[in-house]
Symmetry: C2
Subunit: 355 residues, 2 copies
Amino acid sequence: MSHRIAILAGDGIGKEVMPEGVRALEAAAKRFGIELELEPFDFASCDYYLEHGQMLPDDWHATLSQFDAIFYGAIGWPDKVPDHISLWGSLLKFRREFDQYVNLRPCRLLPGIKSPLADREPGDIDFYVVRENTEGEYSSVGGTMFEGTDREVVIQETVMTRHGVDRVLKYAFDLAATRPRKKLTSATKSNGIAITMPWWDKRVAAMGQHYPDVNVDQFHIDILTANFVLHPDWFDVVVASNLFGDILSDLGPACTGTIGVAPSANINPEGTFPSLFEPVHGSAPDIAGKHIANPIGQIWSGAMMLEHLGYKEAADAIVAAFEAVLAEGDTRVLTPDLRGSGSTQALGQAIAERI
Amino acid sequence: MSHRIAILAGDGIGKEVMPEGVRALEAAAKRFGIELELEPFDFASCDYYLEHGQMLPDDWHATLSQFDAIFYGAIGWPDKVPDHISLWGSLLKFRREFDQYVNLRPCRLLPGIKSPLADREPGDIDFYVVRENTEGEYSSVGGTMFEGTDREVVIQETVMTRHGVDRVLKYAFDLAATRPRKKLTSATKSNGIAITMPWWDKRVAAMGQHYPDVNVDQFHIDILTANFVLHPDWFDVVVASNLFGDILSDLGPACTGTIGVAPSANINPEGTFPSLFEPVHGSAPDIAGKHIANPIGQIWSGAMMLEHLGYKEAADAIVAAFEAVLAEGDTRVLTPDLRGSGSTQALGQAIAERI
Ligand SMILES: CC(C)[C@H](C(=O)O)[C@@H](O)C(=O)O
Ligand SMILES: CC(C)[C@H](C(=O)O)[C@@H](O)C(=O)O
């Protein structure tokens, strides 16, 4: 059985890390006899927008629906297209219209990477952020009144639904139940955001009833970010709304040394639509073209994709390969964010050879 | 001229750190010949709520309006009263109804305190968070439909106004203009929160026109939290919406070792209403009654209050006093969060003696 993968490299360093992601995928496919058909597209990029006036072709939904998964780089180039247009016209559209309601982001301190936190060793930080990925604070409801005047008022609505919240909570509890520590932390802000978040807390408590073995706690988002820095070892599975999950899944990887290595999976658990796999980092216009971007976030996202497609062994081999390269610590292949002098390609090649 | 200060200790460790805050104030008042009339109240606490069914007496506005400032501990005891009731019934009401639209939170790595970040020394971290304090994500507009059913929808509106945003931006730019580095960082999320935040960005750009000497940059809140950990030395003045400011002003102090020392000022710059000074930390029911809470957040808030009242020298003396005690590092007086074995009172006394 062959798997069709759509390749969307996007903008900026997306175009630089994607070839390395593909290289790792192909190496793993070869070693484990997996048939992958990789098909690249030029849409979902700011250059495409400049040419066509939209981020995606009209038939994008039908086109991409035929794929088993989407392998995605990074989108955005604010000097060409404002971020909210490029992102709402691509990534955020996919998440919503392909109902990828779980955004799963592992956060792990890897061998050979120096944490910015003092005295933290690999093993000390190892948790998942499970982020709601379709609703909440990322809403398209709202607008402006008295525009351009001193009376100007701008409103944006956070919209949470029981349908949307319960299903991602269920995913997070299920995940926590499979982990040795069986611990789930809910990110809340029910003391300040006093309409949606107290309700979120209630849904967490209700879902918890079905998981007597899972240990549940909760922190307000402000002190939770503080605890990521002070006590990253406290966390196992952290479940959060769309915005809070966005924040925690950049902060968590930063605590592990660099967001350049962090992967993510935008999952439609039912498989009705393709899931999408992308690094956590953005398109980083400031370093684009320099070939110094860390490709591990892209490569690790490829591993998550293979696992999602049923190839756990191949996924583990990719992870083992970049862990080995990191542990070796050859500064000629490590990228600058890892205190090396290597290029995106050098690091990608070293990992692919290892696979 | 005598200054009337309302003392509201609140709940939990608020009751333990407040006496130390008062001790430091009185020491400074004595040394610098400042006349302070301190008047304690029992309202704005969960015990008051349990007795009266409300957090504040009906005439709170008239009562507190007669004071020159409010010295505030910490409120909340979720086992007695849900947080959103206790906080919206007190602190958040003061901020809004006394139009304390600037929440100013210094974030500084102090001598003798070990940062959780590797290789950071005092001087490396020294910035202010200027938080909008009356509107934005902390809104009271919204509600629930189809309550208790599978179709349940919960909506909360973020409300930003030009009036509200411009004035806090102005405060932040003015502050940045007085600092040696003259740098202002705006916390945004205009790629995802695509109605309010692109507009926020525009207001920042418009205000920046009036401050050609101030260097402005902006980060999305997700990568901004990452940069607090990776590059805390980048920041000078950070301006943020209510929610983003809330998050950054817990995360920032965590990066300086403990949120136990962080102070804050809720300022009504026009002086129409009293301003309010409180530590950043909460009431911490988990350690309440143990007398191990760090009183420095409360004491430093008192220094900010004296500065606000015009006594810069007295404020500096308080800060110098706790810096000296911290630098000395006597573990018998330092509280456990500072790796000592001292009590709240021991640390408070050591600081007061120094003043
Ligand atoms: C207690 C809570 C409502 C408050 C806030 O969110 O503003 C606190 O976290 C703060 O930062 O002052
Ligand atoms: C690019 C941006 C819209 C996106 C988000 O906010 O979801 C990114 O930060 C992420 O975390 O995937």
